[in-house]
């Protein structure tokens, strides 16, 4: 637009070159509304960009388009009903959110979870992490023009969703697990599917890596695109793969282990430049680590004597089986007490964090002993690190801004709560 204006001026003012010079000094910027709904932003994100041609001069993010007042809703719901709210935060890895919530409530109510359940949970959470990273990394491919990798690797994400279906009956918003354990034990089909996944997925992941990791075009496109330094990332409270890509080895699973993560052998991959390529590589590496964690969990389960328990013995929190509710008085009483919120919960406040798909997902619960939390605050990693986005894309090209956003793995549901 600017060039065309200049051309016109050139034609009309051919005789006076001075006037063209003054025209050059008065810069004219374009304002571009990237979003709220835009095919390249994968969710509802609005950024008002001030642009000089293709160059981004400044950006302003507007968020909140899918705000659903989870913190307010959580103040009205009994603890076991809040799981469905956490589903809808990071819906790419909802089992992590669900189990994170259950663990937070278990910490509040001081519930000891059997080892077997902890390992089963680790398997679920690592599967969720893989599916989260599959989405993010394959979308980086799509945004840089490589559709093929996305199409091939997505069948594995679909397969993980089939495993979820086997575990809890749902695919996206899973509502998986219960306070005190899991809703049901893994079925034989679920085990079969998990083992098949462990056997076949490495080849699929390797194929995906071969397509992109050392690909000249992909590297040229992503290296030095949307970088952030480690200091800046820490100041902006980054967490998860984005922080690790900048070179800080912070992982909640290692720093504040939950669910017996301290028993597992795995490395925390880190990057150096904090750019799109590093974020991609960190997630890629984490998928391999997750695979190894799942394998370790299965080995640990084989060694355990306990082969059947799938929940702790906490009748005041864990709903009894339906058939018992209809036949035994005891179960009926507990069922009624749980549903009506008659169970006692200590008066205290806790913070529990889990390593979600994109960082430290924290639950801050203030309990006044009532059936619902008195105050509930979710530390959503996306919400906190997305505010660095304008700074990260300043001075880069529009197409880099798209790549930066997809590599940061900003999930609209988690951003807006």
């Amino acid at each position: 637009m600017y060039c065309r204006k200049l051309e016109q001026r050139k034609m009309t003012n051919n005789q006076s070159p001075n006037r063209i010079n003054t025209a050059l000094q008065e810069k004219e910027y374009t304002t571009l509304n990237l979003g709220p709904t835009h095919p390249a932003t994968h969710g509802i994100f609005q950024n008002v960009l001030k642009m000089d041609g293709e160059l981004i001069i400044s950006a302003e993010s507007t968020i909140g388009y899918i705000h659903r007042a989870f913190e307010k809703l959580a103040e009205r719901r009994p603890y076991y009903q809040i799981t469905t709210l956490t589903d809808r935060m990071n819906y790419c890895s909802s089992p992590i959110n669900n189990l994170g919530w259950h663990m937070a409530v278990e910490k509040l109510a001081d519930i000891e979870i059997p080892k077997r359940v902890q390992y089963l949970r680790v398997i679920i959470m690592e599967l969720a992490r893989i599916s989260d990273h599959i989405i993010c990394n394959s979308v980086i491919g799509v945004d840089s023009g490589a559709m093929t990798g996305f199409l091939y690797i997505f069948q594995w994400r679909e397969y993980i969703y089939e495993i979820y279906e086997e575990l809890c009956g749902a695919r996206l918003t899973t509502n998986l697990g219960r306070i005190g354990g899991l809703e049901r034990d893994f079925s034989d089909i679920a085990w079969e599917k998990i083992k098949y996944f462990l056997k076949e997925f490495p080849a699929g992941l390797k194929e995906f890596e071969n397509l992109l990791v050392r690909n000249r075009i992909f590297m040229d496109r992503t290296i030095a695109c949307g970088p952030i330094s480690a200091e800046r990332a820490l100041e902006y409270s980054f967490s998860g793969p984005n922080l690790r890509a900048a070179g800080v080895d912070y992982d909640v699973r290692v720093m504040n282990p939950y669910c017996s993560y301290e028993e597992f052998e795995f490395t925390i991959p880190i990057g150096t430049n904090g750019d799109t390529y590093d974020r991609f590589m960190v997630r890629q590496r984490e998928m391999w680590e997750s695979l190894s964690i799942i394998q370790q969990a299965i080995d640990k389960l084989d060694k355990l004597e306990d082969k059947t328990s799938y929940h702790a013995n906490v009748p005041e929190f864990f709903l009894p089986p339906k058939e018992e509710v209809y036949t035994s008085m005891e179960a009926l009483i507990w069922h009624f007490k749980i549903v009506m919120g008659e169970t006692t919960i200590p008066k205290k406040e806790i913070y529990h964090a889990v390593e979600g798909g994109n960082g430290e997902l924290g639950f801050f619960i203030v309990s006044d002993g009532g059936r619902t939390p008195y105050r509930c605050h979710f530390r959503r990693p996306c919400y906190i690190y997305y505010q660095a986005y304008p700074e990260m894309i300043k001075g880069s090209m529009l197409s880099d801004a798209i790549l930066t956003m997809s590599s940061m793995n900003v999930i609209a549901g988690e951003l807006d709560a």
Binding site: I63, G64, H67, A69, E71, K72, L73, E75, R76, K107, L234, E235, Y236, S237, V248, Y250, M255, N256, K348, E349, I350, Y351, H352, A353, E360, G362, F364, V366, G370, T372, R375, H377, R379, Y383, I384, Y386, Q387, A388, D416, A417
Partner: protein, 167 residues
């Protein structure tokens, strides 16, 4: 991993800010300090910049509302010292109905949106904040949604009566 010496932290803080530290509590899941509203910013700066304590990471920040207390509004801040893996929680309460805190954006740029969220939901002002606007709710919303008196259901609806389902 070595954890920081919490007793030392407690005595150092009391020495530096004696009456501004209203109470300390290590019964809950992490060390909690209640700080007077006026001294909050100085305490945060001390915790962040002190070479030993080095609470360099702002984990989260949120508003609190206890209508039954005399000091009904509060701010909860969680800091993290990653090398020593120690977390602490700070709280600051005020009886002001439209509380104004000093902004933390000069210490952590990450506080920007967190403070905007506290403004959006509790109506807390943060003096010195570069851009204090509503962030998740619409600009035309009236009231502060996470205050306890704000109804969960749309207050302007006449066809629904939800007094039966209150806490």
């Amino acid at each position: 991993m070595i954890e920081l010496n919490i007793e030392l932290l407690e005595s150092k803080l009391k020495q530096h800010f004696n009456e501004a530290i209203l109470s300390t509590n290590s019964d809950s899941d992490m060390f909690t300090i209640e700080v007077s509203k006026e001294a909050l910013h100085d305490v945060l700066r001390f915790l962040k910049e002190d070479a030993y304590f080095n609470f360099h990471y702002l984990t989260t920040l949120c508003g609190l509302h206890y209508p039954d207390q005399e000091k009904s509004f509060g701010l909860m801040i969680q800091l993290h010292n990653m090398p020593e893996n120690t977390r602490i929680r700070l709280k600051s309460f005020t009886n002001d109905q439209e509380p104004t805190f000093k902004t933390m954006t000069d210490l952590w740029p990450a506080a920007n949106w967190m403070e905007r969220e506290a403004y959006d939901f509790f109506g807390f002002r943060f003096s010195g904040h570069p851009d204090l606007r509503r962030i998740l709710n619409m600009d035309s919303l009236e009231g502060w949604p996470l205050r306890k008196e704000y109804p969960l259901e749309d207050p302007f609806r006449k066809d629904k009566d939800d007094k039966m389902f209150g806490r």
